[in-house]
């Protein structure tokens, strides 16, 4: 048993971080009003879908007698198919996500977490199962899962410089969301996406970037270091590098988009300088589209 004082401190620490993150996510998700979004086809579910004339093979108990009594034919009452889908979300927790170019912006990690949790809130409301990949948190449904996700997401930042997605534990035919800056090596991403495509997993890539990374507003003699300090580049005239840096960034984005198209995923870039609303809407619709 741990010391009560330690336990309490930990509990308080947890309670400190949890509500704000979840509250942010709830707040963000609130803006999206869910319409009735069933499968638009008959199946198992609670909601009425349509009456259809009974044909051979229908069991007698399936006949809706109340409807049938009003006419000469027999009718079967069909319900809308409401199958729960499972969605696995990967949030990059590498050090590079902790970057913020301006005090007025949140870090990329913060924005990615809020987006992840918000989309989880929305999906949970829609009855889907949500989980986090690579953390041993398999997709489950219900508010408790949200709390668990919030706890995991509020956890410590990773130490690696750049993160790589983890495609393990993804159920076939499920959905996935990758939230990262994708500034590191692209090979793991490519591998994960290929694997996902093999298992018929569709999903969305959201590249979260800081405005500073898009604009490269630096000049003069500068030593650039990665967030973890493993990479280092010195230049005497940072301003001269801007054009080439931006070209490389565009190239990377194009490659990600190609990759997504090839595997049937969706790809979008989100900047922390903008509001999270647009990204959430895009993300939600991207997940809906593939259904």
């Amino acid at each position: 048993m741990s010391d009560p004082a330690t336990l309490r401190a930990r509990a308080e620490g947890l309670a400190e971080a949890l509500p704000p993150l979840l509250a942010d996510a709830e707040h963000l998700a609130q803006a999206v009003i869910l319409g009735e979004h069933g499968r638009r086809r008959a199946g198992l579910g609670d909601e009425f879908w349509q009456y259809r004339p009974a044909h051979a093979g229908d069991e007698a108990r399936m006949i809706d007698w109340r409807r049938s009594a009003r006419s000469d034919a027999h009718f079967v009452r069909e319900k809308e198919w409401q199958a729960a889908q499972s969605v696995l979300i990967w949030v990059d927790d590498s050090a590079s996500m902790g970057f913020s170019g301006d005090k007025t912006h949140p870090t990329k990690a913060e924005r990615a977490r809020v987006l992840a949790l918000a989309v989880a809130v929305l999906l949970t409301r829609g009855g889907e199962r949500v989980g986090l990949s690579g953390t041993g948190l398999p997709p489950r449904r219900g508010p408790l899962q949200l709390l668990r996700m919030a706890e995991v997401l509020s956890g410590a930042q990773g130490t690696a410089d750049y993160g790589a997605p983890d495609a393990r534990g993804m159920a076939p035919h499920s959905r996935a969301v990758f939230l990262s800056d994708f500034l590191g090596d692209l090979a793991p991403v490519e591998k994960a996406l290929t694997e996902a495509a093999d298992r018929d997993i569709k999903g969305a890539l959201v590249q979260v970037l800081d405005p500073a990374e898009e604009a490269f507003p630096y000049d003069g003699r500068t030593i650039f270091e990665s967030m973890g300090g493993s990479l280092r580049h010195e230049t005497l005239k940072a301003g001269d590098l801007r054009g080439r840096y931006l070209a490389r960034l565009a190239e990377r984005k194009a490659r990600l988009a190609d990759l997504a198209r090839a595997t049937g995923w969706h790809y979008s870039t989100h900047h922390t300088g903008e509001g999270a609303q647009g990204a959430l809407l895009w993300l939600y619709r991207a997940l809906e589209r593939v259904r």
């Binding site: 590079s96 996500m97 970057f99 750049y162 800056d181 500034l183 590191g184 800081d210 500073a212 990374e213 490269f216 507003p217 630096y218 000049d219 003069g220 003699r221 500068t222 030593i223 650039f224 270091e225 990665s226 967030m227 990479l231 280092r232 580049h233 010195e234 230049t235 005497l236 005239k237 940072a238 301003g239 001269d240 590098l241 080439r244 840096y245 490389r248 960034l249 990377r252």
Partner: protein, 920 residues
């Protein structure tokens, strides 16, 4: 001290540090600016990129140059550079400090004394004996050499004198000098007679140094009166650049306080040494002027006192009978006017008006009888010093004035009828004039041979007749008699003022006689012959600084000396009073010329030299600091630290430091002025209560609409006026709803309001309380109105009379209701003498517009319409209420008509009469 060209260095050894500059260059060049460390996730994309140029790791050359210059400026600055250094060798032997001490020195006298003090100190250190001598105050003989300290204590007692040195005495003194001494000549910059002799004597005795102030010597000649304007002539000793001077006329204002009465700016043209300017002033003001001066110049030469010659006497001419048209030459006043016009200001009018204007002279031409009141007033005026000149004529001859007893306003008793000589019905020849007696004021005037007298009034042979007679005919009968009356006098010419009775008015003698009687003004300055034998006493004296002081008990001055017009120790410049006039003696006479000193080239002149010793250290250090500041900014910019928001802030800071603050608030009144003046606009006063202000605005909108519909007045949208900030004069009409909580306007706002009321504006005060209180009946608004209106220039008021023009400017009204229907409306009271003329329906009331209308009927509420044009507030009940609203609108229309057309409707009363006269 080590000098290079015109620059010397006090610490030249420091300049060796400049040698280190090239080393510094290499050092600075080798060290590139320090890098910034940045955490940046995108570094993964940067890996492998190389810099295009490799040169930028060295500091750019211009930054290096900037730093080099800063360091060089520091080094040179601390080396103590001096522009135009002065090398002084300590002198030996006795030193003479010779000060001109004229009025020209007075302008910067303290500076001169400071300079002399420094000189004495220096001489004291060198142990030289010193003599300080002023040219205007020479010692008895020789040079009073003493220790420098002894002179230093006496310096404060030295004062410049308002005259130039006496050349005779100066020459004698210079010739008496012997021995060797150096001279320091404190020159006033003004050339004077005898200066060359002194310079020769000083040059023979030793070296001469001269101090001369570069400030120009300015002088002002006495003012002359020409063609109705005062001609002022200013002089300067040295012709040079164009320069501006302001000439000021000083005198006592009506309250007896001395102040500047007029200013006239004038410009010396380049290369000219004199300027002339004219000053035109009304006679009342001109007669008050006691002196002219060049403003800002403390020197007696720049001040000129005025005397009687500038004063123009005011003469009132009154004739006994009306002029008949076409007989101008027979007018009793024609010759008087001709004689006096050039030299006096003539007044015209009735006797009672003229006495109020208090002229110097009143001329009565053939006026026989005066009313008792007029006579009393006239006598009073004469006894206070007035001069009454009467001319005889048929009326006087026919009247009983001064027949049995002497009239106080006549010098002698007259015999009935007068006499005629040399006419068709009389014996004898026309009489000539007898030469004037010595006691006569006319003594010395030449008698023209053609002056003949045909008729005259005869004086009764009384005991005083002989002494009162100041001019007589050849047969001894008096022609002009005079008597004193109180402080004034009464003079009677026993002939007419026109040529009917004598040829005297046709002759030059007439003018001279008037001059002698001080009826007209005399020529500028009396001749020397006139001054012969007279004695003059100084009233005020002028010191060298141009200050006018009391003369105290200076002894009298003989006239011959005054005629000389050259100020001297026993004849200080000032105002001298003689028997019947005052003479000003000025430093600068009408013909005085001033010239600048011309020193031989061998004599060094201080003060005038363009090159003056200037320490450059401060400038260089400032430049170094500025360069370093620029270097900081440049380095920051170069290393990329001066980007984004911070660069904006830095730029603002730099600009704020560099630019002089020039943030004068621009007047934003123009928009309001344009809006208010391009169309007729009704306005209301902002009370601070938003609801009241809205209602007032809506009320004026409603009234404007009604005006637009029914009349030719087409007002624009009403304007809210803030009394504290807005100009009022654009608005013909102000609606002022009075609230109990309204703040009192500031004094400036009241000044603006009063100006508005005086210049024809109208304010409608509305206390909006007629439903609960009678006018002034003690409602809070009523009390507030009393407080608000107390500082206003409001004329006496009365309730609107039934025939007030407000009742008929557009509609015929007798009631002025608003939302309330009280009859208490107050307007400016009619003049008390307004009478209703026979057959006229109205009284002929006051002109103009009543400046205020005061009531409490809450008119704005009755007029107010909302955005849809519907009435905002109910008025009364039913049809009667709507009728009341209609009458309220009619009142508003009448009011605005009254504001815009004035008493036009009042004048309509006269239309029948006008039509009748036009023959319609």
């Amino acid at each position: 001290m080590w000098t290079v060209g015109a620059i010397g260095f006090t610490a030249p050894a420091l300049l060796w540090a400049l040698v280190a500059l090239p080393a510094l260059w290499l050092l600075l060049r080798a060290v590139p600016p320090a890098p910034i460390r940045r955490r940046f996730p995108g570094v993964a994309l940067l890996l492998g990129l190389t810099d295009d140029e490799t040169q930028t790791d060295k500091t750019p050359w211009w930054l290096l140059l900037l730093r080099m210059l800063a360091v060089a400026a520091l080094i040179v600055g601390f080396a103590g550079p001096v522009l135009n250094p002065e090398d002084r060798q300590p002198g030996t032997g006795p030193l003479l400090v010779f000060i001109d001490g004229t009025w020209a020195d007075a302008r910067d006298w303290p500076r001169r004394i400071d300079r002399v003090e420094a000189l004495l100190e220096e001489a004291g250190r060198d142990g030289r004996p010193v003599a300080v001598v002023m040219a205007t105050d020479l010692p008895e003989a020789g040079l009073p050499f003493q220790a420098a300290e002894a002179w230093a204590s006496r310096l404060a007692g030295l004062k410049p004198q308002p005259w130039l040195p006496d050349p005779q005495a100066l020459g004698d003194w210079a010739r008496g000098l012997d021995g060797g001494f150096d001279t320091f000549w404190m020159s006033g910059g003004l050339d004077y007679e005898g200066r060359d002799d002194v310079l020769a004597a000083f040059s023979a005795a030793g070296t001469v140094r001269v101090f001369e102030s570069p400030r120009p010597v300015l002088a002002l000649r006495p003012a002359a009166f020409e063609d109705g304007a005062i001609r002022l002539t200013a002089l300067r000793a040295r012709a040079g650049e164009a320069s501006e001077v302001t000439l000021a006329a000083t005198g006592r204002d009506p309250a007896g306080i001395e102040r500047v009465l007029a200013r006239v700016p004038a410009t010396f043209e380049p290369g000219e040494t004199s300027l002339e300017t004219d000053l035109v002033l009304p006679p009342e003001l001109r007669n008050r002027i006691s002196r002219f001066s060049v403003e800002g110049v403390r020197s007696a030469g720049a001040v000129t006192l005025t005397d009687d010659s500038l004063k123009r006497r005011e003469v009132a001419l009154i004739a006994g009978r009306d002029n008949r048209e076409g007989l101008q030459l027979l007018s009793p006043l024609f010759y008087l006017q001709k004689a006096l016009e050039p030299t006096a200001d003539l007044l015209d009018g009735t006797l009672s008006d003229i006495i109020l204007a208090s002229p110097d002279v009143i001329v009565l031409a053939d006026v026989a009888t005066l009313s008792a009141a007029e006579a009393a007033e006239l006598q009073d005026w004469v006894e206070k010093g007035g001069l009454l000149v009467r001319f005889a004529g048929p009326r006087l001859a026919a009247s009983d004035v001064s027949r049995d007893a002497e009239d106080p306003l006549m010098p002698v008793r007259l015999r009935a009828g007068g006499r005629t000589v040399g006419g068709a019905m009389s014996w004898g020849e026309p009489k000539e004039l007898r030469p004037f007696a010595e006691t006569s004021p006319f003594f010395g005037l030449d008698l023209p041979p053609d002056v003949r007298v045909n008729a005259q009034v005869m004086a009764q042979p009384d005991p005083q007749l002989a002494e009162r007679s100041i001019a007589a005919l050849t047969d001894g009968t008096p022609l002009v008699t005079r008597k004193k009356l109180g402080e004034g006098q009464v003079v009677l010419f026993h002939v007419t003022a026109n040529a009917e009775w004598s040829t005297l008015p046709l002759s030059g003698l007439f003018v001279q006689m008037l001059e002698r009687l001080a009826v007209s003004t005399r020529p500028a300055r009396p001749e020397a012959a006139e001054l012969q034998g007279t004695t003059w006493v100084a009233e005020t004296v002028l010191d060298a600084f141009g200050e006018v002081g009391d003369a105290g008990t200076l002894p009298g001055v003989p006239g011959e000396k005054l005629a000389d017009a050259r100020p001297a120790p026993d004849l200080p410049p000032g105002l001298y009073a003689g028997e019947d006039r005052r003479l000003a003696l000025n430093v600068i006479g009408p013909d005085t010329r001033i010239a600048a000193t011309a020193w031989p080239a061998r004599i060094p002149v201080e003060g005038l030299a363009v090159a003056r010793e200037t320490l450059l250290k401060g400038w260089l250090l400032t430049a170094a600091l500025a360069l370093l500041a620029a270097d900081i900014l440049a380095s920051l910019w170069l290393s990329g630290r001066l980007r984004g928001q911070r660069s904006g802030a830095a730029a603002v800071l730099v600009l704020a430091l560099m630019l002089p603050i020039d943030a004068h608030a621009q007047d934003t009144d123009d928009a309001l002025a344009l809006k208010a003046t391009s169309e007729v606009v009704l306005a209301h006063v902002v009370t601070g209560d938003a609801r009241i202000d809205d209602v007032a605005r809506a009320g004026l909108v409603g009234l404007s609409e009604k005006l637009f519909q029914r009349t030719s007045i087409e007002p624009a949208a009403p304007i809210a006026v803030n009394l504290e900030t807005d100009e009022l004069s654009f608005f013909p009409f102000l609606y002022w709803p009075v609230t109990a909580s309204q703040p009192q306007p500031s004094p400036e706002a009241y000044a603006r309001l009063n100006r508005y009321l005086r210049t024809g504006g109208m304010i409608l005060f509305d206390t909006r309380d007629a439903d609960v209180a009678r006018f002034g009946g003690g409602s809070p608004e009523g009390r507030r109105l009393q407080q608000l209106a107390r500082p206003l220039d409001v004329p006496p008021l009365e309730p609107v009379p039934a025939d007030h023009v407000l009742t008929r400017t557009f509609y015929l009204l007798q009631d002025f209701p608003g939302r309330h229907a009280s009859r208490d409306i107050w307007v400016e009271a009619a003049p008390p003498d307004a009478e209703r003329a026979e057959g006229m329906p109205f009284r002929d009331l006051n002109d103009g517009v009543t400046p205020v209308v005061i009531g409490g009927n809450d008119w704005a509420a009755a007029w107010a319409v909302d955005a849809q044009g519907a009435a905002m507030f109910p008025v009364g009940r039913g049809y009667a209420g709507e009728r009341q609203r209609e009458i309220a609108y009619r009142f508003g229309i009448n009011l605005i008509m009254h504001v815009l057309t004035g008493n036009y409707k009042s004048d309509q009363v006269h239309v029948p009469a006008l039509l009748d006269r036009l023959g319609q």
